[in-house]
């Protein structure tokens, strides 16, 4: 098995075997990233295809920029490609309805998280919950919580204000909290039934 450095070097020479090896290593993880943004498997595949072509064509840029690990670099490309895809599809919609913003602090829950160790949704279920979020919520939540971007960076990436980014995140959290709670209740009922 080739080391990552060697693999990158071979890809720079345009060797197809190395490109395929690189694809095999990262495709599954990157398709996961694309699905989180696109929400749709077919679209995610299109985005990933485009993303990998960008990776192969711009692989010289990686050395020049020297930015973190190679996996991180590929992930950034995938995220940007997905964002461009969504932008082109005009699927950036950020609901700015202030009145509907929940007062998150008042939504104290007794059950939620207290026994969370017993009832933790699976990975796929969590992704599904995120994908069910409205587009704006989903994007900001993914970028902030999963990709660890700050609100300032998110505002630049999505062309929104920092305030919008924060409010979208807050709403996303609220909706997800609700979903997790519902899921817990459902799980409890099932357990009781058993």
């Amino acid at each position: 098995m080739l080391s990552e450095e060697l693999l990158i070097e071979q890809c720079r020479k345009g060797k197809q075997a190395a490109q395929e090896e690189l694809y095999n290593r990262f495709a599954a993880a990157m398709l996961g990233v694309c699905i989180r943004y696109c929400g749709n498997h077919t679209e995610a595949e299109d985005v990933m295809q485009e993303g990998f072509i960008k990776v192969f064509r711009n692989i010289y840029e990686f050395k020049a920029r020297n930015e973190g690990s190679f996996a991180t670099w590929i992930k950034i490309i995938m995220v940007n490609t997905a964002l461009n895809f969504l932008r082109d599809k005009k699927r950036f919609s950020f609901i700015e309805d202030i009145e509907n913003v929940p007062i998150y602090e008042q939504e104290k829950t007794d059950l939620f998280f207290e026994e969370s160790e017993k009832y933790i949704p699976s990975r796929n279920e969590l992704v599904e919950m995120v994908n069910e979020l409205p587009e704006g919520y989903k994007l900001v939540f993914n970028l902030h919580v999963i990709e660890k971007y700050g609100h300032k960076e998110i505002s630049k990436m999505l062309g929104i204000t920092e305030g919008t980014s924060k409010s979208q995140l807050s709403k996303a959290r609220f909706v997800l909290q609700k979903k997790v709670k519902e899921w817990e209740n459902c799980k409890k009922k099932m357990m009781l039934a058993v």
Partner: protein, 566 residues
Amino acid sequence: MEDNNKIDELFSKGIEGFSVTPSNDLKKKVFASPSVIKPIKPWYFGANGLLIAGSVIFISAILVYFGINYNYNSKNTVIYNNTIKNFNDSKNTNIINPFNKQVTQNKNTKDLNVNLNSENEASKITNKKEMAGQASHDDKTSIERDFVQGNIGDASASNTLTQIQENIDNKTPNVSNSKQPADNNSLTGLNTSNITNREKPFVEKTQNSDSEHNAKFTRHAVPIAIGIVSASPNVKEMAGQARHDDIVELQCHTELVSESAIILMNSLFPTILPQQYAEYMKLISEKPAHYKKGIWYIEANSGMFITNYKVTTNNNEFTSAKNAKQVMLKTSFGCEMGINAVYQQKRFVFKAGLSYSNNGEKLTGKMFLSNPYNSTLINYNGGYYETIINGNYYDIDSASYFHYTYTQTDHIYVNDSVLAWNTQNRPVDVLDTVNITKYDTVPKTVLYNNIRYVQIPLSVGYAFPFGRFGCTILATVTPGYFVKVNGSQMSVTNYPAIEPYSKNTIKKFALSAGIGVEFNYHLNETLIIGVEPYFRKSILGMYNKDYKLNQNANNYGFRLSVKKLF
């Protein structure tokens, strides 16, 4: 806030490492056309980078060359004198140059050049001027003594010059210590073998007009006076201040007017006219004998050019393909390098040589990177669908929509699950935005191709010399032999899909013709640099008939060249 962190942690940890195994079809799609996902090398890795680096080195070398000459000229008069002497010796000109005597003397004393370090030059020149103005005695030996011992303010300069004088004295004790009339032997001893025949009349005149020892010391003093003259244009004033009516000195002034002018010119424009080549200007303008008979140069050149392509076809069936490619083709960069043998007789110039040319071909457009005919499933609502509308090719399947066109005038849409189209003058659009990829969302793809030729450029020209500068109008015919091609070409059968460039697509032989104007500059009598803007047009098309399309190139570029006489 705590809940915020909890939910963030739940999702970030839970989703971390989420992966989905992609289908094999996706991999096939990605690698359907591996030749077109070649890494884009940074510009400095390619031939253009090499060319730019070469040009920078070339220009730097020229600048350094002139920079050295500038320092050379401005710092060291003695070296200058040597240079002039050597130059004049090599040219066998008939100019009587008393500088040479100083040079000869310097050579005899050996240490003189060594002692004249650059730090002392400025003060020496100043003092020379002062001393010339203050020269009031008849004896040139006294002038020399004043120069060495009396009027030098700078201690270091004084020391140096005293040392020089001592060195001279050591070598010629009969001259400087006793002021005895010099005999012919001592004179010969000073001159050694470096005094050329053309200098003898000057010496003889000196001897006839004055005493022997005056003649002797004139040969010491004149260089100092020349040094003064060379540093200041005020020749007459200095001559007037010298009280004696020394014929030798007057003669010196007369003989040195042209030399002084050259020196003055050099001090004012050192980079424009390096003084050791000043004589050569005359040489060029006077058209020396070998120029008239015919001269040979060897020339090395490198150049870069931009190319505009024109696509043609003889078959109406491929007009749309032709139009599609013409829109895709952008102005491209290319480069070349070569060597030429150049023969020049009078004003006529003939060139022949060998060059290697790299023609860039840039294609830009919204295109899918795979050949649509390689797709295995082309279905719409369970049924196969494929069509060409006015030459534009469309594929539809249940998941995506492909539109291979670049000049869109047709509108294709889905209405009640029925595919329909009509012609409209606006970009393609579809109603089903979820399952159909819109053409206008396809990113632009840029492809760079390289087509390489070995060429035999044959040129005829007419030269217009202007001293060291010159220009030559050149007409060139360039037969070429195709060597290599890299990149992608447009498939004419499945256009405008892309497929790897085939060697068979391109004609083995190429022919182009062009004109250019070469501006050149003589660095010295054997070395010429030049820059030639040119225009070149391919006469034969680039492609074989089998390819259906043909392509002609118009090149606009420039060459940098170095020519050496041999």
